[in-house]
């Protein structure tokens, strides 16, 4: 009958979302995934919700669609659209394939844990902190796992293959430089991956039904679902096949009940039942559930969280000192710099779920996960790191993919005038001042010539030039800071604007274009 086919349909949709979202995070060669990034991620619940909370825009109503879907037919979101859900199904598949033949079993709900986590997440959000949501949102967790763990592996394989092919004289692949390592984000990604995998090996979608705040919220909505899966007591033979394939552990065959708040709509039960005893039932009656917190599990989760947050977080890269005279003046502390389109630190940090999609696709590697630069609440939210790279003037990559609206799209013209910060010159650190030799690396890289070389009278009486900053022209792209060769402290750095400002367009008179090609050469 038709219901049995639902499982195949579910698997097809799940593979569709999983594969494309995974590809989006791993598409380091920009093979076109970014063209449909926004559309693809439109339905991801937490980013869409955050986007809506701030913009109330029509383009940000993906989460409403998910709510309506859940209201109609339960948490099918968790089995199809959520990539972390599908990741757990992959674990389940491997478990069935290589593990013990044992199936899943009914487990009592852990309502205390899941609703407390949901309530805390909501309370944090209301208090203005996305900390818990960012840590627990399944899409962002998936993103961090792919961006911080899977992507480096893929890059490694690419680089090995590139080396082998280059050795044979073939240059179709190229080596990709490693992105800057962000220990906190890598640690959190590993921690969450371990947690999700362990819980999923233990009993299917335990994570979704215990930890995940999106799962808990959709579970509450599913209480009101129009269509629900139910067991027909007359047809059921209590064979238990459905319970053994129910990864949510929500079918209690002894009592003939289905806890629809935990059902992820995978439809495995339809496919497994030989008696057609499972069916969709139209009903508005909420299923009463006892709440029995499990102290062991609770402490396990609590401990895991503590461990995650306590990951030692030492960022930064080793600095190679390349000159005889190290510079002496430290760079003053400056506010962290969110990417273009972030509007302001406040706007960015309140909307970013730290999924690291922008980090994954940034071709210049300038976007890196932060540590606690935005504060504890903003941990792992990306920031511009001008020691890792600089924002390419004409690049629009990150502006096109953000699913939560933390980075809002803008036109190329506007992006090129968005001032993330302003360059500050520390003359005493500059090579021209310390060594009386030409350098100009900063000005060379400056796309607006906000950093310009001007004559520099010097004791050696050499015809030297030294940088001069016109702050109005500066867009804060960080090219000057990146290129500055002095160590340990650079001679030019970008002081972040907490609220992005608008730079001025440099104006210059036209050059005289009249050239007579019949004229003789000047030599």
């Amino acid at each position: 009958m038709g219901l049995k086919r639902l499982r195949s349909l579910r698997i097809a949709v799940a593979i569709f979302f999983f594969a494309l979202i995974a590809f989006l995070f791993l598409d380091y060669r920009d093979l076109g995934s970014r063209l449909f990034a926004r559309e693809l991620l439109y339905l991801q619940f937490a980013p869409s919700l955050l986007r809506f909370l701030h913009d109330a825009a029509l383009g940000a109503t993906g989460f409403v669609a998910v709510l309506l879907l859940t209201l109609f037919v339960g948490r099918v979101y968790c089995s199809t659209i959520c990539p972390l859900g599908t990741l757990q199904d992959v674990v389940g598949f491997l478990r069935r394939k290589f593990g013990k033949g044992r199936g899943y079993q009914y487990s009592p709900p852990r309502n205390a844990i899941r609703y407390v986590i949901l309530a805390l997440t909501a309370a944090f959000l209301l208090a203005g902190s996305g900390l818990l949501l960012n840590l627990l949102d399944p899409f962002s967790t998936f993103g961090r796992i792919f961006s911080n763990l899977v992507r480096p592996v893929v890059l490694g394989v690419n680089n090995l293959a590139a080396i082998v092919l280059e050795w044979m004289g073939i240059h179709v692949l190229y080596r990709i430089p490693w992105p800057m390592i962000a220990p906190l984000s890598v640690g959190v990604a590993i921690g969450m991956l371990v947690l999700v995998v362990l819980m999923s090996v233990k009993n299917g979608r335990l994570y979704c039904n215990t930890v995940c705040p999106v799962g808990a919220l959709l579970g509450l909505v599913a209480r009101l679902s129009v269509l629900r899966i139910a067991v027909d007591p007359d047809a059921c033979t209590r064979c238990g096949r459905c319970e053994r394939v129910c990864k949510a552990g929500c079918i209690d065959i002894r009592n003939g009940t289905v806890d629809f708040t935990r059902c992820v709509g995978c439809c495995n039960c339809f496919a497994a039942c030989r008696d057609d005893a499972l069916r969709f039932e139209c009903s508005w009656r909420p299923s009463p559930r006892p709440s029995q917190p499990d102290e062991d599990r609770r402490s396990f989760i609590r401990n895991s969280m503590m461990w995650l947050i306590g990951i030692p977080a030492i960022a930064g890269q080793p600095t190679k000192i390349i000159q005889s005279k190290p510079t002496t003046i430290p760079i003053p502390a400056t506010p962290p710099i969110p990417p273009p389109g972030a509007i302001s630190i406040a706007h960015f940090t309140s909307k970013c779920t730290a999924c690291h999609l922008c980090v994954s696709i940034c071709p210049s590697n300038v976007l890196v996960p932060s540590l606690f630069e935005y504060g504890l609440s903003g941990m792992m939210q990306p920031r511009m790191n001008y020691h890792a790279g600089y924002c390419n003037y004409d690049c629009m990559a990150c502006l096109k993919v953000c699913p939560s609206g933390a980075i809002l799209p803008m036109s190329a013209e506007k992006k090129k005038l968005t001032q993330l910060g302003v360059a500050k010159f520390i003359k005493e650190n500059c090579v021209v001042y310390t060594d009386n030799t030409d350098c100009g690396a900063c000005s060379e890289h400056c796309p607006t010539k906000a950093v310009k070389m001007v004559p520099y009278p010097n004791p050696a009486n050499k015809p030297l030039v030294i940088p001069e900053v016109t702050e109005d022209y500066c867009v804060g792209c960080g090219a000057c800071e990146y290129a500055c060769p002095t160590r340990p402290y650079r001679a030019i750095y970008v002081e972040g604007n907490p609220i992005h400002e608008t730079a001025e367009m440099p104006v210059e008179e036209k050059l005289d274009h009249k050239i007579d090609y019949r004229e003789d050469f000047p030599f």
Binding site: D30, N159, I163, G169, H171, Y174, R175, I176, P177, I322, Q323, P363, S364, N392, Y393, D394, C395, V431, D435, T437, D438, C439, G440, A441, S443, E444, H445, C446, P447, T448, K449, K452, M453, P463, V465, A483, P485, T486, P506, E508, K510, L511, H513, I515, Y517, R518, D520, F521, P522, F523
Partner: protein
């Protein structure tokens, strides 16, 4: 008898060919003195399109065959440093790069590779400069310079401040090295032409900037002289170099300079922009290091107007 001669001849020829193939490098060395010396030290062309000007210039130097032996590995090194379109003149003209590759392949080059260690994001510069497409269209091979793994440490024995550098492996493997800079204003080195363009074959440019830029440019010029230098002065960035701010920085000069002597080519390039070669310190140092000649009056120059 005929047959015996034929077999002898074939075997002998085969051995010779094998030797030549095996010891290609030596064979070329031996062959080199047999070539007639170039009639001109430098060719300057103006008034045409980049490809047409190159055709004229290289013909007057005896054709590319004089520089590119059959079966050789060629590296063409344009300037692809910046993420700007061709009309901004931040990078070498793609049409010129294309024409040079076509000449090399026609002369029987085994492989023509093109790369640059770019400043802006390399995939954007390769694409937006038009050079990636030009290379592919011409049948050359465009290669990344974006990973430190591509660069091997070499020593620069004659260097004063720069005594070693990490150089792209393609250059180390190349039999022929064609340097194709674009003539531009430059904030720190005043001008960027041939010698400055070599900064794009090394990994650590910061060291140069930190340790007397002009000296390092001249030092590295002593490492390996390009086989040929082709200076693109079709569109020329007159100010705000090397990246430029807008097309308003650009003059349409429709010129080109070709020479085996990169110091001479740099001197001529400087003159095109009205700057005395002696005022550019790296040209001055390179002249003193006898890496080439910057006294244009003593050179045999072929001046061509189209």
């Amino acid at each position: 008898m005929d047959r015996r001669d034929f077999i002898k001849g074939t075997i002998g020829g085969g051995i010779l060919a094998g030797l030549a193939w095996n010891f290609g490098g030596y064979a070329r060395l031996l062959a080199a003195p047999a070539k007639a010396p170039a009639a001109y030290d430098l060719v300057a062309v103006k008034g045409g399109e980049p490809d047409a000007m190159f055709d004229k210039a290289i013909a007057s130097l005896g054709g590319i065959e004089k520089f590119v032996p059959k079966g050789s590995k060629v590296v063409v090194k344009p300037n692809i440093g910046w993420d700007v379109l061709p009309e901004r003149a931040g990078n070498t003209h793609p049409q010129l790069v294309k024409r040079i590759i076509e000449h090399c392949l026609k002369a029987g080059a085994k492989k023509v590779s093109v790369f640059d260690h770019t400043c802006d994001q390399w995939r954007r510069t390769y694409t937006n400069s038009g050079i990636q497409k030009a290379v592919n269209d011409a049948g050359g091979s465009i290669v990344s310079g974006d990973s430190e793994g591509y660069y091997q440490k070499v020593s620069v024995p004659k260097g004063k401040r720069l005594t070693e550098a990490k150089v792209h492996e393609l250059l180390l493997e190349a039999d022929v090295f064609i340097n194709v800079p674009i003539l531009k204003d430059h904030g720190s080195s005043k001008l960027t032409i041939c010698m400055k363009n070599l900064m794009g074959v090394v990994w650590d440019r910061g060291y140069w900037h930190r340790n007397d830029l002009h000296q390092c440019i001249a030092d590295f010029a002593s490492y390996r002289k390009p086989t040929l230098n082709v200076v693109d002065a079709y569109r020329v960035m007159k100010r705000n170099g090397p990246r430029g701010v807008s097309v308003d920085d650009v003059l349409l000069m429709k010129s080109q300079i070709v020479s085996t002597d990169f110091v001479a080519a740099d001197a001529a390039g400087a003159k095109l922009l009205g700057i005395e070669p002696g005022d550019i310190r790296h040209i001055k140092i390179a002249t003193e290091m006898k890496l080439g000649r910057s006294d244009l009056n003593s050179l045999a120059i072929n001046r061509i107007k189209l």
